[in-house]
Point group: C2
Chain length 351, copies 2
Amino acid sequence: MTFPSIDTPAVLIDLNIAEANIDRYQAYCTDQKLHLRPHIKTHKLPMLAKRQLEAGAVGICCQKVSEAEAMIADGGIEDVLITYNILGADKLARLRELSEKVRLSVIADSKATVDGLSDTFAGASTPLTVLVECDTGGARCGVMTSEQAADLAAYTDAQPGLTFGGLMTHPPTGQEAAVQNWLSSATDLISASGLMVPVVSIGSSPGMWLAHDVPIATEYRIGTYIYNDRSLVAHGVCTEDDCALTVLATVVSVPDGSRAIIDAGSKVLTSDLLGLQGHGKVIGRPDITISGLAEEHGILTAETINLTVGDRLRIIPNHACVVTNMMDEVQLIREETQLGPHPVAARGKVW
Amino acid sequence: MTFPSIDTPAVLIDLNIAEANIDRYQAYCTDQKLHLRPHIKTHKLPMLAKRQLEAGAVGICCQKVSEAEAMIADGGIEDVLITYNILGADKLARLRELSEKVRLSVIADSKATVDGLSDTFAGASTPLTVLVECDTGGARCGVMTSEQAADLAAYTDAQPGLTFGGLMTHPPTGQEAAVQNWLSSATDLISASGLMVPVVSIGSSPGMWLAHDVPIATEYRIGTYIYNDRSLVAHGVCTEDDCALTVLATVVSVPDGSRAIIDAGSKVLTSDLLGLQGHGKVIGRPDITISGLAEEHGILTAETINLTVGDRLRIIPNHACVVTNMMDEVQLIREETQLGPHPVAARGKVW
């Protein structure tokens, strides 16, 4: 179904598929006695965050203060974890305001971040909950050793206005045993110092079905699972039929028998490859490669392209989250039923 | 200068550099007796388009109808070329409305596109000017041979509501002689049929200083030259000092001595590589590689990173145009003077 009345390029969200994805992973987490905390970066829609909470999620995860502000603006979301080092007077002031509206927790991986948080929350009626971010192999943010984690936990808990809330990591997929060891060691050290470790928060979509291999985890943070994408199909954690987000595009040129151009380029599909070949998968046409992107042009190649100017295609993008971020609105559908456009409330919130 | 009062991540536009870039290339085009038609995709700001027109540009180039709508909304821009096959009832109706507000021309590379334009403009008081897009080696859109160009020119000019306006191509850089031959051959064929070829429009920023090697061209379309970027520095057409757009970012984590994390990830810098290694150039730190991006994290590596949490950096991105498109607003500066935020009027206009 290519929805002739929807102007292209458009991002379609099939709510039937998204809801099934929510419920399927919630059932797994419930079965594993694991709290699920969806990362809203994938959908950026308060409406879908509330659906995730109704299904059983304990709260939401945001990466930036401005995302959290956009997500809670209409009410109905009461528990937010921001998994980012919040620095600077402006962001810290907004964080303090947020804390007066929702049950808020944040992370830190340095004393510099902790000091800024303490300066801001000293004197607050409720202390801010701070988790220590740990680098368990992902080589992004996080303290590098369990000893550093224990040191920063003790330091955090000793600062005015703060309470140590546990450990958080963005773990590397396929190294679950090492992640378990890392977090167990840190938890042991922290517990030995007399502090509780109430939350151990891990999560990444490629590793979603391996969460039980890190039994020390109490909470799983995950974003892409609600829409899925070509990258997660390649990881084997879902099928193409589980992909709720598709890009609807129109063929605008067929210069020769092996090439066609669509009106979705990098301004919709983005240049994210995530290790894949090509810039997305054309549904129903496994022979086509999206071999190149300009900002407004997607270049399709095949041995025999067999497309006509005006044809409409649906594409599973490599990476759903970044596609959502390109659009002021998405088009909601349920299979062949068109439900209309919906604003992407937390789009472009980088602050 | 890292502007402590500007919240990060931010996109800074140094107007002194942008204006010098406008004036330098306008002087070259004036010298070459070549009309300059800036592509607004790079800045997306009516204010800078008007500065380009004041300097001597003949009009602006947009890629989509919605970009043109955003650019002309405040008045002061009277000549627009849309270099895209416009298809579909909604876009065609908006194109007709646009034609009543500005001197408008578009392109087509197929009879299907021409037919849609003719259906829309038949009966218009002024016929729509349509240029034929030619593939002179860029392998994107465009008719493939000079004979096809001549055929489509004749077909276009014969349709109600349309007038043939000339040839347009997005030429491959470094193949100027071949482009000249292609366009000369097409022009000869069209002229022999009795039609005029009033405009031959070419252009691409990497080839900007080679425009005189395609003497049949009457018009040069170019976007990135106003800001420049790391890709154009690599092409040798500008220096780092000519880069008007920089990304201001804050170091949020320094996990070890060779790695730091900044708060600008793919949601600001984008994943566009344009053949380069790394995701941008940290000004003043040639030893640093931006070795990876997550959506909100930029990963910096160096033998000795020598950065502290809270440090601010300025980055020349690989590709300026796509960075502009990520931001609701840019911060205008002149060297060390801060002029304030400015909305990116044509951001996200993909329709």
